[in-house]
Amino acid sequence: MIAIVDYRAGNLTSVASALGHLGHRSEITDRPEAIRAAERVILPGVGAAGATMENLRNLGLDRVLRDDVIGAGKPFLGICIGIQVLFERSEEDAADCLEIIPGRVVRFPHSVDGRPLKAPQIGWNRVRQTRPHPLFAGVPDNSHFYFVNSYYPVPDDQAVTIATSDHGVVFTAAIARGNVMATQFHLEKSGPMGLRMLDNFCRMEF
C-alpha cells in the first residue's frame, strides 16, 4: 500500500488515478498510523508553502514524515510543493519547512537580462538528468515534463540534485538522497514519461 498524504490541498486524486492506472494500490490519508504502516509515501501537490506547512503541522504530519517515514528509511516521493517543503525554508510566505534537505526555496526572478520572465511557469519543460538514478530508468534524457511553479529549490549541496531544468535560470528539478526522492514537475500529469517515473518509484528496491 502506498500512502498519498492528504494535507487539505492539491489535486490528490490525480496521483491516485495514475497509481491505479499503473496497477499500484494507494490510499489518500491524513492518519499517522496509515502513513506509518504504508510501504511507500507520496507527498503530492499543488499549493503554497505556508499553507502546506501549516496544514501538515496542524495534522501532526510534519513529525510523522520527518521521523517515521523519512527518518525510518521508508521510500518517500515528493512532488511539486512536496519537493519544496523538504528544504529548510521557502521565500513563499517566508515559510519554515521540514528541514530534511539543507537549502532553501526561492522565487523565479521577475526578469532575466532585461527581459520579463513569466511566473508561474506553466507548461512542458525539458528535464536534464545530471546524474543517473533509478527513478529515471527508461526515461530519455531531456524529456519534457509538466511544470507549474513560481518557486524552485536551491540545495546547499548540489550532490542531491539528479536533474535540472531551465526557465530563464537553470534550477534543480529533481533530487534524491537515499530513500528520499522528489521532483518539481508533476509526474501524474506528464504523460507516459511521468507514469514511468511513478512506476519506477513504486517498484524501486531498497
Binding site: N11, T13, S14, S17, A18, G20, H21, L22, G23, H24, V46, G47, A48, H110, P116, K118, A119, P120, Q121, I122, G123, W124, N125, R126, S143, H144, Y146, F147, V148, D166, H167, H186, E188, K189, S190, G191, P192, M193, G194, L195, R196, D199
Partner: protein
C-alpha cells in the same frame, strides 16, 4: 525553455461531444472520454472541455465526464462553460480537472477570479475572454471589445484592459478567443494576442481561427502566444497533432516530443 502547447478543445453537451468532429479512426466521436484518450495518445499537451449544457440540473453529467477523463488521461485538462461560483469550480477540480476556465461569469462578477485564485491558486484559474474587433477609440484603445454569451452581448470593456485586470485579480493564464476569427480558418487574431502577451506576465493562449499549420506557427511567433487552442484543424483529421508538431519543430518552435505510448502495467 517551455515548449509551446497545443490544446484540443472539445465542446460537450449533456455528456456528449457535439459539433465539429467528424473523423477519428475507430474513435466514438461522441464520447468525450474516448476522444480525450485519442488526443492524449496523439501527444496533445493539454485538453480543454467546454460544457455547453444548457440546464443547471444536467451539470452533474459533466462532473461524471471529468471523473472518467481523470482516470484515463495523464496530462492537464481544464473545464469551462457556465462556471459562476467558487463551488462550481471546486466541483470540477475535485473531480480531477487541473484548471477551470471562466469567461462570461467573470465579466459579470470579476470577484470570482480573485476568489477562485485564493481558494485554489492562480495556476488553476484560466480567464478566457471572447474579443471582437472595434475601431480604435478612447473606449477601445486596443481595438477589441470583450463580448460574452458566445459573442452576442457586448460589455463595453476594452480587451487589453480586461486582460490586465484579470491578471491583477489573480488569473494564472489568459485565453484570447477571437469571435471574428472563430470558425473562419484564416488564423488567430495575432494583433490582440501579441498586445496582451506583451502586456502581461502570465501565459497567453491563442484561440479561434486555426485552419492550417501556418496559423499555429504565426500564433506562437508573431502572436507571442504560449499555447494554442485547436478545434476543427484536428477534429477533421486533416492535420493530426504529430504532423502539426513536426511542422512547428521544423520551423524552430520548441514543442514537446510525443513519446510513444507505453502500455500500462496492468
Amino acid at each position: 525553455m517551455l515548449a509551446k502547447r497545443i490544446i484540443p478543445c472539445l465542446d460537450v453537451r449533456d455528456g456528449k461531444v457535439t459539433k465539429g468532429v467528424r473523423f477519428l479512426n475507430n474513435v466514438d466521436v461522441g464520447d468525450p472520454v474516448a476522444m480525450a484518450r485519442y488526443y492524449y495518445e496523439q501527444g496533445a499537451d493539454e485538453i480543454v472541455f467546454y460544457d455547453i449544457t444548457a440546464s443547471n440540473e444536467r451539470r452533474g453529467i459533466m462532473i461524471e465526464v471529468v471523473r472518467a477523463v481523470a482516470r484515463e488521461i495523464f496530462i492537464p485538462f481544464s473545464v469551462g462553460g457556465g462556471l459562476r461560483t467558487v463551488e462550481d469550480m471546486r466541483a470540477v477540480l475535485l473531480a480531477g480537472a487541473e484548471k477551470v476556465s471562466i469567461d462570461s461569469g467573470a465579466v459579470r462578477n470579476p470577484r470570482i477570479i480573485a476568489e477562485g485564485a485564493r481558494a485554489f491558486g492562480s495556476q488553476c484559474i484560466v480567464l478566457s475572454m471572447q474579443v471582437k474587433r472595434r475601431p480604435v477609440s478612447a473606449e477601445f484603445p486596443s481595438g477589441c471589445e470583450v463580448v460574452i454569451d458566445g459573442g452576442r452581448t457586448p460589455t463595453g470593456r476594452d480587451a487589453f484592459n480586461w486582460a490586465r485586470e484579470g491578471e491583477s485579480l489573480g488569473a494564472g493564464e489568459l485565453c484570447i478567443n477571437s469571435i471574428d476569427q472563430d470558425g473562419a480558418k484564416s488564423g488567430y487574431d495575432l494583433e490582440i494576442t501579441r498586445m496582451i502577451a506583451d502586456g502581461v506576465g502570465i501565459p497567453v493562449i491563442a484561440s479561434g481561427g486555426a485552419g492550417e499549420p501556418r496559423h499555429l506557427l504565426e500564433g506562437f511567433t508573431a502572436g507571442g502566444a504560449d499555447a494554442a487552442i485547436v478545434a476543427s484543424i484536428v477534429h477533421y483529421g486533416e492535420y493530426p497533432i504529430p504532423s502539426l508538431k513536426r511542422y512547428l519543430r521544423a520551423h524552430g518552435v520548441e514543442v514537446r516530443d510525443a513519446p510513444e505510448m507505453e502500455r500500462s502495467a496492468n
